[in-house]
């Protein structure tokens, strides 16, 4: 079974509103990310990708290349605001940076209120977000976001690199999730 098949198999039986932490290696992370977004878009009506790892344009190209329905995806780009002031598109918003947690939180709230049907949230990635935020502040932010997701019946995936997250922060985040999937 390939890593991607393993991911599909692990996610297949989960309820749609489940919140899952996916841990994978740096070598695999982008392939796993693409596979996860493909699964989520196939299963849901729409979703938000919060990307601290890759810029909007790069994600869009790769999503198209991997037959991901980009009409279902709204991308919150946390890294390329300064370079993309001129981009106007319906499915993207640029946030100043990954440490703008209040802006990110408010935008997620807006999204959860506005969008209807089966929705997902995808956070890419825990490690990158932690570079820009104090661990306790980030854990508090995640706790708040996951609580709101549960209230709104929205499922989601969080991506993290195996063994690259501080043990305590990892435990704090893992215990808030419904399942942890390891793709080595």
């Amino acid at each position: 079974m390939t890593d991607i098949e393993k991911l599909e198999s692990e996610l297949k039986d989960l309820p749609e509103d489940s919140i899952v932490l996916i841990e994978t290696s740096a070598d695999n992370v982008f392939q796993v990310t693409l596979a996860a977004v493909k699964i989520l878009t196939d299963r849901n009506d729409s979703g938000m990708v919060i990307s601290a790892s890759r810029p909007y344009a790069n994600l869009l190209t790769n999503y198209k290349r991997n037959n991901i329905d980009t009409k279902k995806v709204f991308i919150m780009d946390l890294i390329s605001k300064n370079h993309n002031a001129d981009i106007v598109a319906e499915n993207v918003m640029f946030v100043k940076n990954a440490s703008s947690l209040t802006d990110i939180s408010l935008s997620i709230n807006d999204y959860l209120k506005k969008m209807e049907g089966k929705r997902f949230l995808f956070i890419d990635s825990i490690n990158t977000m932690l570079i820009h935020n104090e661990s306790i502040v980030f854990a508090r932010f995640l706790h708040s976001i996951l609580t709101r997701m549960r209230i709104n019946g929205v499922g989601g995936l969080l991506i993290s690199l195996t063994d690259k997250t501080n043990r305590e922060v990892r435990a704090e985040i893992a215990q808030l999730c419904d399942k942890v999937i390891k793709i080595e």
Binding site: D13, P15, H143, T147, I151, E168, A171, E172, Q175, L176
Partner: protein
């Protein structure tokens, strides 16, 4: 039910994950006591649910104080795990609109009063208070305040109102070495690792 079984390991939420230390020290005896429960972070909620299931099946009724998840999520999952929600009062501190129990702003005394009132509302002799979890509270509160809350709750079991009261503090096993958790564990009668057989100190 099948999907839930596959997902959370519904059979896990029945009792076989709960080890002898938990059942021998807590569930089987009609006793009062304070315990710190260590749970694996990767299977945290299914294990805490299994603990609640074990307690309710042994005739305990209690108050589940949730700082991690909102009420509906817990209620629905307990229902799926066949935990009788009539025997559990859930105090939602994760998303409460009432400031005095909301995790970001709760007042120790008012939360304790809410817990006491909820306990009094439950019929029966054997009762528990389940705090889930200490380290989640620590995201928002000073450790000194959490220790104060723990002490106030522990004093409850000496109250004339409650003969058989269990106070259960939950914590992820990976986080149990935190200083304030160690301090709280020193007030407890025992620290029980819910999954590892025989780990009870």
């Amino acid at each position: 039910m099948l999907k839930t079984d596959k997902y959370y390991g519904g059979s896990e939420a029945k009792n076989h994950l709960i080890n002898d230390s938990f059942t021998n020290n807590i569930c089987k005896n009609n006793r009062s006591g304070t315990f710190l429960l260590e749970l694996p972070s990767d299977k945290y909620f299914v294990t805490s649910s299994a603990s609640v299931k074990c307690l309710t099946e042994k005739g305990y009724k209690g108050v589940y104080v949730s700082f991690q998840r909102p009420f509906e999520n817990i209620y629905n999952l307990f229902d799926k795990y066949e935990i009788n929600n009539d025997n559990v009062v859930i105090i939602d501190c994760a998303n409460s609109k009432e400031d005095f129990v909301n995790i970001s702003s709760f007042d120790n005394d008012k939360l304790c009063k809410k817990i006491i009132d909820s306990l009094k509302g439950l019929k029966g002799e054997k009762k528990f208070v389940f705090i889930d979890s200490l380290t989640t509270i620590a995201l928002y509160k000073k450790e000194s305040e959490i220790k104060k809350l723990a002490k106030t709750l522990i004093e409850l079991k000496n109250s004339k109102h409650f003969d058989n009261l269990l106070i259960l503090f939950n914590v992820s096993e990976e986080l149990s070495s935190k200083r304030f958790v160690k301090d709280i564990s020193s007030y407890a009668d025992a620290v029980i690792n819910v999954l590892k057989p025989g780990v009870c100190t």
